[in-house]
């Protein structure tokens, strides 16, 4: 069976109906999120520290980031960045803050770093 555009679109539509299946999310989703990071390698270092503390898994991270960044397939980078800023502000307002080697960062920031770590490890 050959992969064609029609099959890809059908697969993407199924994923939209079943958001829990993020492990199979199209690469554009995590890539779009990771594009927000100007230094993926540095973020991955932070993410490695946090993942070691939290024992979190890629699937949880992606699900959470979808929610926090109000992910949609048609969201462009500017929209995502705007949503990221809102999510960070909300995290600090609500005290949803995590510590990575003493650095107090928003949970959303920590999850982005974790995503960078998992991506670097080939796990998303």
């Amino acid at each position: 069976m050959t992969l064609n555009r029609r099959r890809l679109l059908a697969g993407a539509a199924m994923l939209m109906l079943w958001p829990g299946s993020v492990r199979a999310a199209p690469p554009t989703q995590s890539e779009a999120m990771l594009d927000l990071l100007p230094d993926r390698a540095g973020a991955a270092r932070l993410g490695a520290q946090w993942v070691a503390q939290e024992h979190t898994e890629p699937r949880e991270i992606l699900e959470s980031l979808q929610r926090r960044l109000r992910w949609s397939a048609d969201a462009d980078t500017d929209t995502l960045r705007h949503n990221l800023a809102n999510a960070i502000a909300e995290d600090f307002h609500s005290g949803t803050v995590v510590a990575v080697q003493g650095w107090q960062i928003a949970r959303t920031q920590a999850e982005l770093c974790a995503l960078a770590y998992f991506a670097a490890a080939g796990r998303v």
Binding site: D39, R45, L46, R81, I88, A89, Q104, I105, C113
Partner: protein, 502 residues
Amino acid sequence: MFIDGRTLPQGTVIETDIAIIGAGAAGITLARELRNGGRDVTLIESGGLDLDADTQALYEGQSGAVEYPLAESRLRYFGGTTNHWGGWCRPLLPIDFAGRPALEIPAWPLTRTDLEPYYRRAQSICQLGAFDFDDPAPWQARMNLVPMQLPGDELTTRFFIYSPPTRFGEVYRDDIVSAANVRTYLNSNVVEILPNAEASRIERLQLATLGGNRFEIRPKLCILATGGIENARLLLASHSVQTAGLGNGSDLVGRYFMEHVTAPGDVAAIALPDQTRVPYYYVHTPDVDHASMRAVLMPSDAYLARSNGLGTSLSIYEARKPGAEPKTDAQQLEPAVIALLRSLGGDAEQTGMIYGVACALEPVPSAENRVTLTEERDALGLPKSRLTWRPTRTERKALADNLGAMARAFGAWGGAVKILLTDGSDWADDEIGWGNHHMGTTRMGTDPRQGVVDANGRVHGIGNLLIAGSSVFPSCGPVNPTFTIVALAIRMADHIKGGSLG
């Protein structure tokens, strides 16, 4: 007029209207305010006009908890500790006078409003220029700079104004020397304050010099102004009539010693993606209209009220660019943190910056933090003091909470804060620093069971004994004490001149 106590004939008896023991910020201010008045004033100073090692050694004592530099943290010659103070000035806030029962911080029997006119007069004595400590607008007008607009209501910007610093013994020496009604006895140590048999009035002061000369001063009114440790020491050592020490009927003299915990080094670091975001006057002390000013961050009154927190002065220091020669593994993460902050965009041309944060923390008064006497004696035969001081868990938690508030404010503003205070509820010895601020050992209170002196500084039960200086502070906020010491001294002088204090 200066008189060297070493030159007096042995056994000299001096009559005076007002004796002021100690020529530091409080004593010199009192003498200046009372100069050229109708009453004879005798100012008594242990030291001379310069530091003398043997005299300074009279401050040596023992530490009962934290190893505290009793001899190095104060100076014993004309001008007192103003001979080496840093000059940081700002008044206490209204909330500091109000007291916070949940934290067992007592209210002052005074309000900020009561002290306001005296703070304004202290302004010129401390050579401070403008009286703008809390409103950024005047500084903004002078400097064309706006304070950091941190989100939320947990932190607020306040201002310290720097005294040059005023060396009281130099700047006001001529005023004291030339005052016709003021005689200053140098190298003269009060070794006991002697009351009448009922201990209701002070009758005599016994004095000694290091060379063995002894003489006596008989004042109508006596003001003790020798500092937060020595005031208690002298009262406790004056036990010929009241065996527990003068004014110590409620076992309060020496107790409730307070210090500002400063923590050595930084307690936090701030990462910002843009080096222009912190205005100059948070990291330097610009001179503006002959005043040198420094902006700091403090928890807001509203935040303190709802969090049961303690006041903290958070000073920002320009540190370095991120990752510039990182010295520790932890610093290796700094460039990554800065880059993470840039995920929100910003000016890519700007260099990120790491700032250091130092603190001064309001203490919780504790009866266990206290000055007592030792069996060991100094060169004059006076028992040495023992200072038992250790900051409490409450203070450590409050500092951690306030650093958390700072992290939330800077995080929501596009920065990140690294808290350097280690986890845990107790202070590690190497985390404890101090401001050399000695306060609280003869605390003020309207009820003799709660305070050694009343609202006017008069010792409960002893009509002609007053105490000046930071030992009367029932609480002290997070700010340096000298400015309040001077304001209280001016107020006391006014009351003396008005006749309400004898």
